[in-house]
């Protein structure tokens, strides 16, 4: 994937996770939001781990 797409994708996932976990009124929606939010941290941790 081209360089600029990764940060943009992670930013979109973060914002989507924030919106979903804030606005959805049930535990499932909040969990999906948390999962989306956790993705940038996961990507970062994996890259640091495998450096």
């Amino acid at each position: 994937m081209r360089l600029w797409r990764w940060p943009l994708l992670l930013a979109v996932l973060t914002v989507a996770g924030l919106c979903l976990s804030l606005c959805v009124e049930n535990a499932f929606g909040a969990s999906v939001g948390c999962l989306l939010l956790a993705t940038p941290i996961g990507v970062m941790a994996r890259r640091l781990w495998t450096r």
């Binding site: 360089l3 990764w6 940060p7 992670l10 973060t14 976990s21 009124e25 941290i41 450096r51």
Partner: protein, 392 residues
């Protein structure tokens, strides 16, 4: 033409670099303090629990000190507190959203600040006294919160941190602009092991920064909004509330003759469907000397963040005014959960703490890059510059 474009582009990059460096220099130490104090605050509820938060279910065996009548429990609680502490005045009654607990605060004078207030907690169902005094460990958390919110310096500290927040946003945006040209020739997340430690830290700084940039922007922007809370509330009171309460401005603070139960019932009827969060007693301090202020909030997830103050006559118990908050205070209320990360349970709090730790890594590596000396000598510097630009 291509040379002129390259020269202009290089000048523009130098400018962005200047903004990134100096905005970071300005805010990094303060941001580090905010991130470090923010970590325990993310888990404030869990820390309260661990330090002995009240769970009425666990103390249900304690004999109720007062007769049980659900609607009148708040009044009975106030009467009991005043009997235990004669000479003090009730200031605020808070209804816990997560547990059947009523917290009451007393002060000596009606206009004293809450700083030296006495806290008592009661079982909302039975009126039994659960705790007389502050919860253990609350002093430490109050200092941590004071540092995080205003560096223990009041409104000037709050506004100063707001300015640091703006510098932080500039640093993030300029960092993002610099990210693409400096990483153009590298794969995403590549950390070059062949170069100096400085280069490895630069790659780590870029990777972590790019991953958490969106979160940092959201939490930074909502943090700036929070630093404006006091002036914005002041503006609203000055423009919308003070003119309607002008007749009472110099009036002495009255001791309510209407019951709390009547005030709560009246406010609930004025804003049907909402939940009562707290009631403040008559005072010149953030209220009125002749009225209760009943704070109500919605019951759904988002509406639960939107509070509405209802002014109730302390003599008759009749609702005088439902003071709907203006749009800028609504925006402030909606921004708060996005700053605190307290709206999605423990899972979200763990994610929030991970982002916070990653931000500490970005700030720490930024400090290292600022102070670590680049290699000396023209050739070594040229080599370093080539590697920094990703020309490995």
């Amino acid at each position: 033409m291509a040379e002129r474009f390259a020269a202009r582009s290089s000048l523009s990059l130098r400018r962005w670099r200047w903004w990134h460096r100096w905005s970071s220099v300005l805010c990094t130490l303060f941001l580090l303090m905010l991130c470090v104090t923010g970590l325990p605050l993310v888990f404030a509820d869990e820390i309260d629990d661990a330090l002995g938060r009240l769970h009425p279910a666990r103390v249900a065996s304690s004999p109720p000190s007062l007769p049980i009548r659900a609607a009148s429990v708040p009044d009975l609680v106030v009467a009991d507190a005043l009997r235990r502490h004669p000479g003090l005045r009730p200031r605020i009654v808070v209804f816990d959203a997560d547990a059947p607990v009523i917290q009451l605060r007393l002060t000596r004078g009606p206009d004293d600040s809450y700083a030296g207030s006495l806290a008592l907690s009661y079982d909302r169902r039975t009126g039994a006294l659960l705790r007389d005094g502050e919860p253990p460990g609350s002093g430490v958390m109050r200092i941590v919160l004071g540092l995080h919110r205003q560096m223990l310096a009041g409104l000037p500290g709050e506004l100063f941190l707001g300015a640091m927040g703006i510098a932080f946003l500039i640093a993030i945006v300029s960092g993002f602009v610099l990210y693409a040209p400096f990483m153009r020739r590298l794969r995403f997340g590549q950390i070059r092991r062949s170069g100096s430690p400085r280069l490895r830290w630069l790659d780590t700084h870029n990777l972590v920064g790019a991953c958490v940039a969106a979160w940092m922007v959201v939490v930074g922007a909502t943090g700036i909004m929070n630093t404006l809370a006091t002036p914005l509330f002041g503006l609203w009171v000055m423009r919308d509330v003070a003119p309607r309460l002008a007749a009472f401005r110099t009036a002495p603070v009255m001791m309510p003759t209407a019951t709390l139960a009547a005030a709560i019932a009246s406010a609930s009827a004025a804003v049907p469907g909402d939940r009562v969060l707290s009631v403040t007693f008559p005072s010149h301090l953030a209220g009125s000397p002749r009225h209760f202020v009943v704070w109500v909030t919605g019951r759904t997830k988002v509406r639960g963040r939107l509070m509405t103050p209802v002014l109730v006559d302390a003599a008759t118990g009749a609702t005088v005014m439902v003071a709907r908050l203006p749009w800028y205070l609504r925006l402030l209320e909606l921004s708060r959960p996005l700053h605190f990360g307290d709206y999605g349970g423990l899972g979200l709090k763990i994610v929030w703490a991970a982002f916070d730790a990653a931000t500490i890594l970005v700030l720490g590596s930024g400090l290292y890059l600022l102070f670590a000396r680049p290699p000396s000598g023209r050739r070594a510097r040229s080599e370093e510059g080539r590697l920094v630009r990703g020309e490995s």
